[in-house]
């Protein structure tokens, strides 16, 4: 019997890329940690070698500027001001470093504004029938703002945050070390995690929604609200170029929440098979509509 190598699936390839990327991030973080240690060790040795001070005031006056210099070196090392990059695939506008991959990526030059998110949510949810209490736009915008504050993957390292940590905490405190590591460790922002948070927020909000006279608020309706809200927040975070939806297939097969694959629509009769892999499908099994962008 001959064993043939199985072709990895898209999901496996994605996981492999994630593992590789995380290993690279860990390697860089270790290297940065070592360099920070070196700077601080040099500072300590420098101070330990002081012999000629006459009073404590004099020692303090000598040591403080050197400590400031060491801290400034750490800030410069960990949060360098990146030079403006020009992106060959766009018009050469400013790009920013990605905290997740440390590569320059094209970003939206405008800052994230809450009013833009609120407007996008109103536009996106406005096409659905609202509950009697109206859409909890403010609460949903809060979720988006909190998510963005948690660590926008397209922002530069937070230089001010680092300086604050260095200013107020003792270098050798465990808490400080943890804060520094937490700051330096990029937070992989997954759309699935955002969807989970939004789903929770919608679920809690929907408990307060007054059911329409027709009956109880449909859970699948809340699911669609969560999906639309997630997509809106994601598009707001990443700019329109990151949120290009998959082309429409048919009414049974819809783009998944991360726009990477098609899934069955809730009421297609295949709702228990929503997660079935449709990568190799060339036509819809219900209506035989051809897959967009691929010849059957």
């Amino acid at each position: 019997m001959t064993l043939t190598q199985r072709t990895p699936t898209t999901e496996e390839e994605r996981l492999a890329q994630d593992v590789q990327r995380n290993a690279e991030i860990a390697r860089r973080a270790m290297s940065l940690t070592q360099q920070v240690d070196n700077i601080w060790t040099n500072y300590e040795s420098d101070i330990a070698g002081l012999r000629n001070w006459k009073t404590l005031e004099e020692l303090h006056a000598i040591a403080v500027p050197r400590r400031q210099q060491a801290l400034a070196s750490i800030v410069t090392l960990l949060a360098p001001t990146p030079p403006p990059l020009s992106c060959s695939s766009c018009t050469g506008g400013p790009v920013s470093y990605c905290r997740a991959c440390f590569e320059g990526r094209r970003t939206t030059p405008t800052p994230l504004r809450r009013e833009d998110l609120v407007k996008a949510l109103i536009d996106r949810l406005g096409t659905m029938t609202p509950p009697l209490g109206g859409w909890p736009i403010k609460e949903l915008a809060d979720v988006g703002m909190a998510w963005a504050a948690h660590g926008h993957p397209m922002t530069q390292p937070d230089r001010e945050g680092l300086e604050k940590i260095l200013r107020f905490d003792q270098y050798h405190d465990k808490q400080f070390a943890e804060q520094l590591l937490a700051w330096a460790t990029p937070t992989p922002l997954r759309k699935e995690a955002l969807e989970s948070i939004v789903g929770q927020a919608i679920g809690e909000a929907s408990l307060q929604w007054i059911p329409r006279p027709a009956g109880v608020f449909d859970a699948s309706e809340a699911s669609k609200v969560a999906q639309r809200t997630t997509e809106t927040i994601w598009a707001w975070l990443h700019g329109p170029q990151e949120a290009t939806p998959l082309p429409v297939w048919c009414r049974h097969l819809l783009a998944s929440s991360n726009n990477s694959e098609y899934v069955f629509e809730d009421h297609s009769g295949f709702e228990n098979c929503r997660l079935v892999r449709t990568t190799e499908w060339n036509s819809c099994p219900i209506c035989a509509a051809p897959r967009p962008g691929r010849t059957p």
Binding site: Y43, L50, T55, L56, H60, A63, Q170
Partner: protein, 60 residues
């Protein structure tokens, strides 16, 4: 930097021997200097250092 610990009272006495009286032996002098350098690295405030100095000069 190796942490060197002294009680507050001992720190006051060390400052007396090192600066006020200047009678520390070379070995004591090296040790006390390292203690105060370590206090600086540990980010002792100037107020804390001044307390040591004041106490050292106030006491006999």
């Amino acid at each position: 930097m190796t942490p060197l610990r002294l009680t507050r009272e001992a720190t006051v006495r060390a400052y007396q021997l090192l600066v006020k009286e200047g009678t520390a032996t070379p070995a004591e002098r090296e040790h006390f200097i390292q203690v105060f350098n370590a206090l600086i690295v540990a980010r002792w405030s100037m107020a804390g250092l001044r307390w040591i100095k004041d106490q050292a000069w106030r006491r006999a």
